[in-house]
């Protein structure tokens, strides 16, 4: 079935969601030429609409480790393994909640989901949580939704792994809502391994209460097209929001990090840093808008895009925007772009390291700088080993 053939008008009960879809502004031709990131072909491609992928024990065993509590989320169903976790984690499958995200792609995914998965964590965990999402079917449109909720004063480290192994062309539309109650701290890392023709869209939306902290690290996608959409309205005081991401793409791959962050109360800190390494004819977008409203005094707002271009044909479109309506704040944005650092390269090759190897080391060093932002050492180690094994 093609998305373009779906009868949205008669199948969407949520009027707001329908209106969002009606006004979904996919890049038109003029914009496309400028930004060169076109999603419209997704609507004319035939996909199998899939909400569930069967799991076998073999595929699960690979991810079981003493360093983590492991959960499997299989598009529709969360399958916990460890009964002890039930005392701290409640997993439920509920009718969809009303969602205030302004991101039309978020609503697109919700349209095709009947029950939403919800993980509620009531106590600090002794080990990090590894949430594994496996997608194995060919030519599937896989919408997936998860609401992660931390209770007051809870501290949790989560690594969410998305692995798509297929020989066709899949479209993953992943929605993640994050609720942090007062004083909760979530260190959330995302690691993705896609098949080369996949399109993956990650839509993040949040409800962060007073004095909560959300630190997110997103590591690479090797999908043909990947998009992270961060939609955060910060409506309580003393929130900390950090987003770090690394994009390392080649060939004709495309990647976008789009963020809409709104400060509505005082003493909020938001920071988003994305590093890009672009080779061949790859293309990346960094479009981040931070709005600091009048009541959001004492804000700290930072945006940074750093790009290393490894070829003449790689492209970056970087547009950091600050919309400031208060006087009492600290704000900074930057977008830098250039070739590989010549001094660093020379240092390595002057020690007898071949230029090819030296460049690979420097690329790895840029990635590692982001991976080192992952707070939990077990998660850091897992990500480094996974990348080494799978050349993500």
């Amino acid at each position: 079935m093609k998305l373009i053939d779906f009868d949205f008008e008669n199948n969407i009960k949520d009027h707001q969601a329908y209106k969002s879809l009606q006004y979904l502004k996919l890049p038109d031709k003029q914009m496309e030429e400028f930004k060169k990131f076109d999603l419209s072909e997704l609507y004319t491609t035939s996909f199998n609409f899939l909400n569930n992928t069967p799991l076998n024990n073999e595929s699960m065993d690979e991810f079981i480790s003493n360093d983590f509590h492991t959960l499997f989320i299989n598009n529709a169903k969360v399958q916990p393994l460890n009964d002890l976790l039930n005392q701290k984690i409640k997993i439920s499958h509920l009718p969809k909640e009303k969602n205030l995200s302004k991101n039309a792609l978020f609503h697109l995914g919700e349209t095709f989901i009947e029950l939403q998965n919800k993980i509620e964590i009531s106590k600090t965990l002794d080990k990090p949580l590894l949430i594994v999402n496996l997608f194995t079917s060919n030519n599937a449109f896989s919408p997936a939704s998860l609401h992660i909720c931390l209770e007051e004063n809870t501290k949790v480290d989560i690594l969410e792994l998305f692995i798509s192994s297929n020989t066709g062309e899949c479209f993953l539309n992943i929605n993640r809502k994050i609720t942090l109650k007062q004083n909760a701290i979530l260190n959330y890392s995302k690691l993705e391994q896609s098949s080369k023709n996949d399109t993956s869209i990650f839509n993040y939306h949040s409800n962060l209460l007073k004095k909560s902290t959300l630190k997110m690290v997103s590591v690479n996608s090797n999908a043909k097209k990947s998009l992270n959409f961060w939609d955060f309205s910060l409506d309580h005081e003393d929130i900390i929001l950090n987003i770090d991401a690394i994009v390392n793409i080649n060939e004709d791959k495309k990647s976008a990090n789009i963020a809409n962050i709104v400060h509505n109360k005082e003493n909020i800190k938001s920071e988003i840093n994305v590093k890009h390494i672009l080779d061949d004819t790859s293309h990346a977008i960094f479009e981040v808008k931070s709005t600091i409203n009048r009541d959001a005094s004492k804000a700290k707002v930072f945006q940074s895009s750093k790009t290393t271009l490894l070829s003449d044909d790689a492209r970056i479109f970087a547009q950091p925007q600050l919309i400031i309506q208060t006087e009492n704040l600290e704000a900074k944005h930057s977008a830098t772009c250039g070739a590989m650092n010549e001094e660093e390269l020379y240092y390595l090759i002057s020690r007898g390291i071949s230029e090819e190897k030296a460049k690979a080391m420097l690329i790895e060093s840029i990635e590692n700088e982001v991976i080192e932002k992952i707070y939990n050492q077990s998660i850091q180690k897992f990500v480094l080993e996974f990348k080494g094994k799978n050349n993500v």
Binding site: Y347, I349, S350, E355, S365
Partner: protein
């Protein structure tokens, strides 16, 4: 070992070296001295094929091979090592991983078996303990957050691991306290076995007292204006560079 004839080098369209002639035999220790901007660093950078240095004329033969035809990697693997005045910081590259990679690239060039992690660690620890160096730097990223002295000691460690044939040291003693200078000098002297050669830039008598040069060359305005032995350096220490060319 090294034979430089009529070398002219420019950086950014400005001629810095204006006809350098220098011959270094195996086992010899040479020192370059001169005021700032005289061309000392440019000379050692040119020998190691730094990207800033453009050779306009002249020749450099290294072990009877035309050095100007070799790229920096090849020169390093054939035994040339230049320590940097201000080593660059590279966050995200672990110092130990970098050293191991550099050593194994050289071993591969020499058709020797690469060292595994355990063997390499044993080698490094033997060097750091022999010369009283803190091996905590191995766990850190390459030069990241290192003090000036730590950076220089890291350069020394690389020297000791890679065991080059021609050592080019650009002010390796700058920023070091007395004890650290002794450590560096001891390390360098341990490599000088009568076959290895050294070309060193320094302003400090203390370093010269610990590594006694065979030849001292004074550079002025891109040319060697005087060559002598250790006594020339001592004279410089008393009179300065003024009138030294007379």
């Amino acid at each position: 070992m090294l034979d430089i004839k009529n070398l002219h080098v420019q950086i950014n369209d400005k001629e810095i070296l204006k006809g350098i002639n220098l011959n270094i035999q195996p086992g010899e220790i040479h020192v370059l001295m001169g005021v700032n901007g005289s061309g000392k660093s440019t000379l050692v950078k040119t020998i190691s094929a730094h990207y800033d240095c453009v050779v306009n004329d002249g020749s450099i033969k290294y072990k009877d091979e035309d050095l100007l035809k070799l790229n920096p990697t090849q020169r390093a693997n054939k035994g040339i090592f230049m320590s940097f005045q201000n080593p660059v910081e590279i966050p995200g590259i672990n110092n130990m991983y970098f050293l191991k990679t550099a050593l194994n690239e050289k071993r591969k060039h020499l058709e020797k078996e690469e060292l595994n992690a355990a063997s390499f660690l044993k080698l490094v620890k033997s060097k750091t303990s022999e010369f009283n160096m803190d091996d905590a730097v191995l766990k850190r990223n390459l030069n990241e957050g290192f003090s000036g002295g730590e950076k220089k000691r890291n350069e020394l460690l690389q020297l000791l691991i890679l065991e080059p044939d021609l050592l080019l040291l650009d002010e390796i003693d700058s920023g070091l306290d007395i004890d650290a200078i002794k450590t560096v000098a001891t390390g360098i002297n341990s490599l000088l076995d009568g076959k290895r050669s050294l070309l060193m830039i320094t302003h400090y008598e203390r370093m010269l007292a610990l590594i006694k040069p065979d030849f001292v060359h004074i550079l002025e305005n891109g040319e060697i204006i005087k060559t002598g032995d250790y006594s020339l350096a001592l004279k410089l220490g008393k009179t300065g560079f003024k009138d030294i060319g007379e």
